[in-house]
Every structure is written in structure tokens, then in C-alpha cells.
Symmetry: C2
Subunit: 198 residues, 2 copies
Amino acid sequence: MDGTDGTGSGAGPARGREATRARILASARELFTEEGYGAVSSRKIAAHAGVNVALINRYFGAKRGLLTEILREDGVFPGLIEGDRDTLTRRLAEHAVSRLHGESSALQRALDHSAGDPDLQAVYQGRITSALIDPLEAYLGGGTAARAHASLVTALMLGLTRVRLVEGATALRAQEREDLTRRVEALLDLCLEDFTDD
Amino acid sequence: MDGTDGTGSGAGPARGREATRARILASARELFTEEGYGAVSSRKIAAHAGVNVALINRYFGAKRGLLTEILREDGVFPGLIEGDRDTLTRRLAEHAVSRLHGESSALQRALDHSAGDPDLQAVYQGRITSALIDPLEAYLGGGTAARAHASLVTALMLGLTRVRLVEGATALRAQEREDLTRRVEALLDLCLEDFTDD
DNA sequence: AGGTATATGTAAACGGTGTTGACCTTGTCA
DNA sequence: TGACAAGGTCAACACCGTTTACATATACCT
């Protein structure tokens, strides 16, 4: 025996369910941030965490489970929906433009960049509906048109992220940035206008 | 010798560079359409084409090469840019909405659905710029603002495709569909308006 | 015609992936 | 002390995309 135990005291890496789980998750987060999702193998995560590969699947079911857990903790578009309705589109526009500048968290950027992997796709799909479309729909009152409006807004937000993948982060001068933000805001406002008002 | 030769006459599958290449490509197209890109392995394609696995890499460099070739033949957003400028946004809007309805080709739908795979991502990125942003930019006159406008339009188009992945194809009644098309058209028009006109 | 280079096709392996099942160790409690 | 269960390890499984060494057929040239 080397003195390690479930309490985490003593020499050597902490053991025990919670400690191990946490260390795996931390390693995954770190490596995903540095290298993207697809480029990091289960064995690499395990090695970095000083843990056996099989434990990943024991504690998270599969590699995808790590992603699900991380995205569950961080959230996508966190806290954008709540708040004053009058400034909703402005908040969304600012967020979108800041993402265009690559100002999101390093992890978010890394995941955006490896957005493509089927796992990420699958996990994201669930989170986009539950973190953007659904709350938006509820926020907008939940009428028949609400979901259509929410979908359009989401389309624009996702598209902007997507086009950044293609074009790369663009450095804008302050004035250009404000112009672009205003333009995106106007687009979002137009998404939310009543359809029959055409 | 079994009578088969490079000309394709005689019993047994045709041999020779072109015939083999064509059969691999056809099998890939068929299987990708049915099962998506990621779900089809190189060996599966080879088996379906009655060909050795190594030939895929011989003739197409890698599995990704099949995708590149197929997308090169089919094109993305084919022929949408050319034509009357006054009706450009209308054409784009109709195309986007028809895609929302799942009315694109079966292959396109399948690839959209497995859009996520790093290979597809990589190939698409190149094609999106060369088939949408670049021509749009040129079409719009190529000024400084042209690229920004083209990017916004592309963002919207891509986002709509993307949100369809999340929400699934929605069946709209004729009136709803026309409303939606008009709304998308209005959004696209707004994308193209001069930024400083705010 | 014969011989030779070259194109084409084949078989087997390589290194990698995510995942799983059988085993062992460790700590706890009766 | 013995049974038991939780936690951890190891080796394997079934795939993947790709490559290398080899066999065969075709075409060309003397």
C-alpha cells in the first residue's frame, strides 16, 4: 500500500470515485481546449489524468459522455435569453459578433473548430434546442409563430458561428464592429417581426 | 485471363483505370446517400464496388477524396448566383426554404445530416467559400463591403440548413411557406443593404 | 516473337480508434 | 477471519483509414 485512499490525502494521485471522475473531466476539458475533440483519444485523456482508460467508460459511459458533461456544466449561449426583452436582440448580436472575433472561451473556440465530429454534432443538437430554441420560444410567448421566430433567430446565430469557421476570425475596427453588430441586431429584429405583417 | 479488359466488354466486372474509378465513385455515392458519410467505411465501399480496398486510396488518395470528387461533380448551391440580380435573394430564399422542406437531393440531405465529420467539414469549407461567398462577393461588385455582405448572406443560408438539422424538416402549408420565403428574402435583402445606411 | 517495363489489382499488415469483459486489489463490515 | 463490494488494471475485441510488398496482366519496343 502506498498510503493513497479514498479521501485523497497522502502521496500519489487522489483515488476514489469522485476524485477520479473529477480528474478525468479536468483532463478532458484541458485537452479538448488545446487540441479539439476529435484529436484527443480516450487513451490520451486517461494518460493525462493518470488513470486507466476503462475508467472513462465506467464513469462517463463513453467518450461522448465527457463532452455531454462538459457542455452541461458550461452551457451554450449562457444567460443570453434572460433579461430585458427590449435588449434581447442587442445582447444576441453582441454575443454573435464577439464570437466572430474569437472572443468566446478557449474551450468554446476549440469545440467550434472541431464542430464536425459526429459526437459533438449529436451533443450540440440537443443543447441547441434546449439552450436556445426552446427558451427563446418560451421567452417569445409560445404562440404558433414563436417557434418559427425562435428558429430563424437560431439559424442566424448558428450561421454566423459557422461562417466564422469558414472565413476565420476577422479583426474589425471599432466602428466596423459596431456597424456589424447593429446590422445583426436589425436582422434579428426582423426575424422576430410578425410574419403576416409583410 | 477471363476475357475482361480495359474496354469493359466481356464477362465479369469491368477493369481498367476508368471503369474501376467510376465503379468506386458510384458505390460511394450510393452508400453515402443511403447511410451518410461517417457510417460508410472504406472497406464497405470497396466491397460494394467489388474492388480491393487499396484501390480507393490509389485512385482517390483517401476516403476524403471520394467526397471531394462527388461534391465537385454535384456542386453546392448550383447555379443560384448566376441570373438576374433583382431576383437573387428570392432565388436564394426559395432554395433555402426548399432545403428546409428536405427537397434537396437525397445525397445532399444525407451529407447535410452527417455534416459534422471532419472530412466533410474540411471539404465543405473549401466549397462554401468557392461556391457561395466568392461568387457572391464578385457578383456584388467586389467592394470592401461586398465580402461582408456575402458573408452575412452565407451565414443565413448555412444557419437555415443547420437549424433544419436540429429541428428536422418542417412541413408547411403553402401560405406559411410563402410567408417564410418572403421573410427569408427580406432578411437576405437586409444582409445586402449598405451597412452605413443605418 | 520475345522480353521488359508499366499499369492494375491483391493480400496482409500497421498503427490507431472506442469500447468491453475478466481479473485483481483495496477497504469495510459482519 | 471471512465475505463482500467498490474501485482500478490489463488485455483483448472489432473496427477504422491507410500503406507496403507482392502478383498479375497489359502494352510497348527491340
